[in-house]
C-alpha cells in the first residue's frame, strides 16, 4: 500500500477553523484580565495592556464561585454514583439474565431515550411539592438513582454483551452470586465505559440550568450555571467580572476534559456508533 503524505491544504483549513473555534475562549480569558474601560475600547485591542489579576479577587467578592461550585458538586457527585450504580444493575439484567417480559421491559426502558425530558417537568415538580421537597437538592439527585438514563443502560449492556459468558458462568458454578459476578468480575472489565459515563454525567449536572432553576431558589444554594445566568442579568455591564466568572465556571469542565480526554472521546464514539 502506498504511504500517503500529509495533506497540507486540509491541515491548514483544519488549523484555521480550529483557531476560530478556540477564539471565544481566548476572548473570554483576555477580557477577564482587562478593565471595563479597556474592554470597551474601539477598535478592540487584542491583549490587555496590563494583566489585571485583581479582577479575580474582586469577582469572587461579588460572585462566590467556590460556594456555587461546591453546591454543584453536592448535586453532581451523588448523581454520578447513582447513575453508575443503577445503570450497571439494569444493564446486567438485560445482558445476562433471562426473565419474563424481558423484551417489553427492554423496549420500554431504552425507548424512553426518545422521550423529551422537558415535557414532564410540571407534574414531576408538583409531585416533589406534594412531598415538601420542591426546594432543595433532593429532587435533582434522586432521579439519578432511578436507572441512570436509557443511553447509559444501553451502553453498559452493549459492553457487557462483548464479554464472554464463560467467565461469569464459571464464577456462578463456584457459588458466586449475581451481585458478586457483576461487581467483582464484570465491572472491572468495563471500567473504561464506566469512566466515560461518569464523566459525562458529571458534566451534564455541572452544565444543567433548567433543573436548578426549578428546584433551587435561594441564591446561596445556586449551582454554578444558575448563578452565572443570574449574575449576568444582575451585573449587565460589568463585563470584566462577568468574563472572569465565566472563566471560573468553564475551567473545571475543561480541566476534567483534558485529564479524561480519552474516555470522553470513546464515550461519544460508543454512544453514536453502538446505538
Amino acid at each position: 500500500m502506498k504511504r500517503e503524505r500529509t495533506n497540507v491544504v486540509v491541515t491548514v483549513i483544519i488549523a484555521l477553523v480550529g483557531l476560530a473555534v478556540l477564539f471565544p475562549f481566548f476572548w473570554m480569558v483576555r477580557s477577564s484580565f482587562m478593565s471595563n474601560i479597556e474592554i470597551h475600547r474601539y477598535p478592540p485591542i487584542l491583549l490587555p495592556t496590563t494583566w489585571r489579576l485583581e479582577n479575580y479577587p474582586y469577582t469572587l467578592s461579588v460572585f462566590p464561585s467556590l460556594r456555587y461550585m461546591l453546591n454543584t458538586l453536592t448535586i453532581a457527585l451523588p448523581s454520578v454514583v447513582g447513575v453508575l450504580l443503577t445503570a450497571t444493575l439494569a444493564a446486567y439484567a438485560f445482558a445476562r439474565l433471562d426473565f419474563p417480559l424481558k423484551r417489553l421491559t427492554f423496549i420500554l426502558v431504552i425507548g424512553s431515550m426518545l422521550m423529551p425530558g422537558a415535557v414532564t417537568i410540571i407534574p414531576i415538580f408538583i409531585a416533589w411539592s406534594a412531598l415538601g421537597l420542591s426546594n432543595g437538592y433532593t429532587a435533582l439527585i434522586v432521579p439519578a438513582f432511578l436507572g441512570g438514563g436509557a443511553v447509559n443502560i444501553f451502553l453498559c449492556r452493549q459492553f457487557l454483551m462483548t464479554i464472554p459468558r464463560d467467565l461469569d458462568e464459571a464464577a456462578i458454578i463456584d457459588g458466586a452470586g449475581h451481585v458478586r459476578v457483576l461487581f467483582q468480575i464484570l465491572a472491572p472489565l468495563i471500567t473504561p465505559v464506566l469512566i466515560s459515563i461518569g464523566l459525562f454525567t458529571f458534566i451534564l449536572y455541572w452544565n444543567d440550568l433548567l433543573g436548578p432553576l426549578i428546584y433551587i431558589s435561594r441564591n446561596e444554594q445556586n449551582t454554578i450555571s444558575q448563578a452565572l445566568a443570574n449574575f449576568r442579568s444582575g451585573f449587565g455591564t460589568d463585563w470584566k467580572s462577568i468574563m472572569a466568572a465565566c472563566t471560573m465556571a468553564i475551567a473545571p469542565p475543561v480541566t476534567l476534559y483534558f485529564v479524561g480526554q480519552k474516555y470522553f472521546i470513546e464515550g461519544i464514539v460508543l454512544s453514536g456508533l453502538k446505538a
Partner: protein, 295 residues
C-alpha cells in the same frame, strides 16, 4: 441456555431492574398521565385545581399570541441548528479523516465547546455579538460592512443562536469521524481499481455507509435542539418580539414564573405531540434513504 430462566434469575433481574423501572414509572409514565390531567385544569399550585376541560387548549389555539410565534421560533431554530450542525460537523470530520497533521489534537480542540457549560458560552458569545464593542461587528467593519444587531434584531436573532449552538456540537464531529474510520478501505480501493475518483468514492461508498450515523445524529440532535432553553433564558428572554420564544422557555415561563401549571401542562402536551409526530416522520422517511449493510 434454557436453564438460566430459573426463579432465582427472574427475581434477581427484577431486583436489579427495580431502580430503572421505578424511574420509568415515576419519571416518564405517571408524569405523562399527570401532564394530561393537569392540562385540563386551571391551577396555580396554591389553591385546588379547577377542572376546565379543554379550555387551556382553546385559549392556546385561538387567543394566545405567543403560541404560534413559539412554534415557529422553535422549529426554525431546531431545523437550522440540526441541518447546519450536520453539515458543519460532517465537513470537519471529512477533513479530519484526511492525512492531517496533529489530528488527535485538533479533534480535541473541536470537541471542547461541547463540554463547557452552555450558560458560560452563551454569555461569552453575547459579548462577541455585542453591537457597539463586539468583535463580530468589528470584523464586519473591517470588511466594509454595516453593523448588525445580532441578538436584538428579528432577522438575525435565531441565526445568531444557531451559529453559537453549532459551534458547541463537537460531539457530532467525533461520532462522524469514528464512523468514517469504520468505512472499510477495501470498498474504497475497489472503486479506485474500477477507475472511480474521489467523488465516486464519496458518493457511492462513504455516504451510503454513513447514513445510519447521519440518521442517529439527526434524530438525537433534533430531539435535543427542539428542547432548546439556555439561550432564551440567559440571553434573549424570548425577544425580539417573540422571535426566540422557544417552546421550553415558554413552558418554563408559564409554569414557573406565572404559576399557571394547567396552561403550561397544556403547552407541554402539545409540545410532546409535536416532537412525537416529528420523530415518527423522521423514522418513516429514513427507510427511503437509509442504507442497511447486507441488504
Amino acid at each position: 441456555m434454557k436453564a438460566r430462566r430459573s426463579r432465582s434469575s427472574t427475581l434477581t433481574a427484577y431486583f436489579f431492574l427495580t431502580p430503572a423501572l421505578l424511574g420509568l414509572l415515576f419519571l416518564t409514565i405517571l408524569p405523562m398521565f399527570g401532564v394530561v390531567l393537569i392540562s385540563l385544569t386551571n391551577w396555580s399550585g396554591l389553591e385546588n385545581p379547577q377542572f376546565i376541560g379543554l379550555g387551556n387548549f382553546k385559549e392556546i389555539f385561538t387567543e394566545d399570541l405567543y403560541f404560534l410565534r413559539s412554534v415557529v421560533a422553535t422549529l426554525y431554530f431546531a431545523l437550522g441548528a440540526v441541518v447546519s450542525g450536520i453539515i458543519y460537523s460532517f465537513t470537519v470530520a471529512l477533513m479530519l479523516n484526511q492525512r492531517v497533521l496533529a489530528r488527535g489534537f485538533w479533534r480535541s480542540v473541536y470537541f471542547i465547546p461541547y463540554v463547557v457549560p452552555s450558560v458560560g458560552t452563551a454569555i461569552v458569545w453575547s459579548w462577541l455579538y455585542e453591537s457597539n464593542f463586539g468583535v463580530f461587528n468589528y470584523v464586519l467593519h473591517l470588511l466594509g460592512a454595516n453593523k448588525v444587531q445580532w441578538l436584538q434584531s428579528g432577522v438575525t436573532a435565531v441565526p445568531s443562536i444557531v451559529i453559537m449552538v453549532v459551534w458547541g456540537m463537537g460531539s457530532m464531529i467525533v461520532i462522524f469521524l469514528a464512523g468514517l474510520q469504520n468505512v472499510p478501505r477495501a470498498y474504497l480501493e475497489a472503486v479506485e481499481i474500477d477507475g472511480g475518483n474521489a467523488w465516486h468514492k464519496f458518493r457511492h461508498i462513504t455516504i451510503p455507509l454513513m447514513t445510519p450515523v447521519i440518521f442517529y445524529n439527526f434524530l438525537m440532535s433534533m430531539i435535543s435542539n427542539l428542547q432548546v432553553f439556555v439561550p432564551a433564558y440567559a440571553l434573549t428572554r424570548g425577544e425580539p418580539g417573540g422571535r426566540t420564544l422557544f417552546m421550553v422557555f415558554l413552558m418554563y415561563r408559564e409554569g414557573f414564573i406565572h404559576n399557571s401549571f394547567g396552561y403550561a401542562s397544556a403547552l407541554s402536551l402539545i409540545f410532546f405531540v409535536f416532537i412525537a409526530a416529528l420523530t415518527v416522520v423522521i423514522f418513516a422517511t429514513s427507510r427511503r434513504w437509509m442504507f442497511y449493510e447486507g441488504e
